[in-house]
Point group: D2
Chain length 287, copies 4
């Protein structure tokens, strides 16, 4: 929305007095005009988390110089883990889909209309079904059929392709395949999935059928980072909608799809804004 | 709200043509002015459900005469299960509590202020903690301490007491004891519990701790009829609230309590209005 | 979802005993298997409303025969207003847009993916901006530039075009032009608009700017039938989302767009399902 | 929840580089262990807002010493407005009511159960109706009948009484009287009202009747600081609930009451936690 170039720092370290003062002082000394700062202390774990965003205009340090100076001045002493992001730099995102198109349409629309500053260089699918959608939006579509026998090999090719396209973020837009550890390890905390229930309720397959059978009065959707435990990764966002006894499984699927596309989009948006930081399987989503 | 005396019929039967016509025709012939009718067909199960409410003013049948006439004219032929309720007749409700008072305060306030037409002849607790609250509202308080050894005997005494007071409905207002089968069987589909999560997520003990550990972004509460499967009974109502990483377990408990009292009250209200009908562990909640 | 051919009757009349019995009896006598029935009595206005849906398989009456028989048997005696709809019959819907594309993308996606049984023969706009989106989805796009001088003439041409395409429903998908009485009268209760606030709050232009200035903590969107009073037509659906002081006007716009497309879609869906009936500027939305 | 003694600083000033660094450095130098820090920059207005909370254990400055040192070191140079609050210090709150009791019950329950650390030394009402509720909870109840003629005089007596009891915060718990400027000026940004609509929709009297007449599908409640413009003060919190055409005005009132008590409580809670800061008729509610 704003064309000023900015940098965002995400960090955490053992909680201790003086971290905020040290970091903001460091930034001020190098000419940063801080435009957003959010911090959080997990008092139980004793961990301090911070996100700071500042204008690059007038800031004295290149990313390389920052790395060295920040490590020396702050990170070493406070034992901090940190990431620096220079934006706007459209993040390069790949989309994985199967046969159900609503999330794909939604993500492509946000990209094509310019609602999001993101590049989508490719779409990967285990089916050829949605190729026309990709073509209509002018995005290359790669079909990798997957069977139990070919899965490891096909995923290895997918990883190569993603790396060749310099992909940072992978959106699983109702991709109906369990992603294997090799792919997850290649993109740690950089694969976002949409699960069609309010996790941990109804993890696994056919959650709407399970929800209907249980007679719930609320259904949900969950966007989360993918980890090796199925549907158990760090949650970024969740949404729900009320249902009634009148709603059939088909109604749940239909109403759920509206949730899924919005909740997936909110999860991706938070990542694109560099608002997320994962710690011990939970996601800090800074304001 | 309305002083007109009314009757409500809840029924279900195998789905077949002509049920609505037969029932409404039956009521019209006996002088009923129908003021509310809601029906639902479960197409998968092939079951027809209906709730009809009519004014008693001008209606020709006493409850006894209704029983005979309706059985002959409708229930037998359609193989219908049914209940007839004459209202307003304040339903007699008992409250079970332990040590956490927010739901108790909320229910007593609704009763004392006249928001609900309900009688609350007694409160039962496994602790003596909340006796002052009961006394303040002028409701008799019975303390039944429960240990593994005394549980069966104490519950037997509770059942006697409930029956002696002609109790129809039992509200478990954060009663932290598993209710045993004998009590459930004495009040089938007439015990409403509030569980402090959005079931089936986090069934069992300490759901807020579990929710915090899982890093969810939404917490919920569920009012449901109690069955012998713990936290697995037919759901009447559910509510949720958004939380963030800033919320501690204590915050979840605090925010959750607001949900719990509202969702328990909505579940009880639906029962008091004769809007609920349980079929195969799911609750039809008529409009 | 279901391929069985069905008919839906929407009706209202002065409230009086026996209406449900008469209608359901009429349908049963002509072989209808009722699969959905919802009724509502407005006790203050003294009006009875009903929606009945039945399978056409086995039903004895053609639409023409129904008209005559129903008028004779029911409508005259009860002074009923009624509409009969035969479905599935994809409803023919036109979309009006200006320059903001998110609702357009969303509606076209639902149509193209087959989520909705609807035909979209054309898109009309007062700008040429979104022609590429229409072309990408293969839908004819008509550009009618509008100035104060040309408005009446251009709208007359639009009406002709809509009628030539046998359009039943018009969706204003963020169409930033006040629609004039002649167009509204040509499509009474058949133009659905999305307003980007929770009406009646912030009617008129720039509601997000007004919401931000007022410091609200919730923003909303409203789908409603268009009437000659600006933003005052019968509401079909509304949705809201929580915001905070951190949200700028740009954030409100972004978050609001997610609401707008979902709430517009829900409003249109209700119309497509023949669930809506307007009475005295309020919309009955049957279950 | 936590017994550690803490201090909270709320401040704002013209946005400029180095504020966070200066404040956190100031606190660190005097031995503060910051446990919560939230800041916000209104980029349009060019104003910087901050809330910092720290443990008093180990902090070197008394409130008086803080005043002088902070003014010198920070406030003068940055032209900052600020408030310092020492907690836990139960805030002294008065409740104003008329005849509708649900909010009163709710607030008294939160106080009596210890859910909130707050003192409630008195209740003031323009009617004698709810005296029994106050007595039941053991809170003194003062009845000030108000007519057009007596209003100024009665409010003057109310102000005296509030000041005599050292009241900081006034909760209007469905107090059905317009509060006049003299009372508002005596408690600036310290009177919280609950309005029974989602402001700015349906300001003024009988909002549920107006909402029903307009045919909305959502009703709301708003807690806000009272200013001299009726129902136009800075909003703290808002909540909504979905309704349908089946809901009568009585249903709206009933459902709305559940919203009102929760939204009023959330607004008061935010104030008690020193999370609120008013700037130009909008409320910053820190996380």
């Amino acid at each position: 929305m704003n064309n000023a170039r900015t940098a965002t720092l995400l960090m955490y370290c053992p909680d201790q007095p003086g971290v905020v003062a040290a970091v903001t002082d460091f930034l001020a000394r190098h000419g940063a005009n801080v435009i957003d700062l959010d911090q959080h202390v997990d008092r139980v774990e004793g961990v301090f988390f911070m996100r700071v965003k500042w204008e690059l205009d007038g800031f004295a340090l290149t990313p390389e110089a920052f790395e060295q100076a920040f490590s020396e001045a702050i990170a070493k002493g406070f034992e901090a883990s940190w990431q620096l992001h220079h934006d706007p730099n459209p993040i390069r995102m790949a989309i994985f889909v199967s046969k159900i198109p609503h999330c794909l349409y939604d993500l492509l629309s946000r990209w094509q209309s310019g609602e999001w500053r993101v590049d989508i260089p490719l779409i990967i699918s285990n089916h050829d079904t949605l190729r026309p959608v990709a073509e209509q939006f002018g995005v290359p579509y790669y079909h990798f059929p997957i069977t139990a026998e070919t899965k490891a090999e096909q995923e290895a090719r997918e990883i190569e392709l993603l790396q060749a396209h310099d992909i940072e973020l992978v959106a699983l837009a109702r991709y109906m395949q369990v992603v294997s550890p090799q792919l997850i390890q290649a993109f740690p905390e950089r694969i976002i999935n949409i699960h069609h229930s309010s996790l941990p309720a109804f993890a696994g397959a056919k959650p709407y059928h399970a929800a209907h059978a249980r007679g719930v009065k609320i259904i949900g959707a969950t966007s989360h980072y993918v980890t090796e435990d199925l549907d158990a990764g760090p949650i970024i966002d969740q949404g729900v909608t009320h249902i009634t006894h009148r709603d059939t499984v088909q109604d749940l699927i239909r109403k759920g799809q509206d949730l899924e596309k919005i909740v997936l989009a909110r999860g991706i948006w938070a990542h694109l804004q560099r608002q997320t930081l994962v710690y011990q399987n939970r996601t800090i989503v800074f304001g």
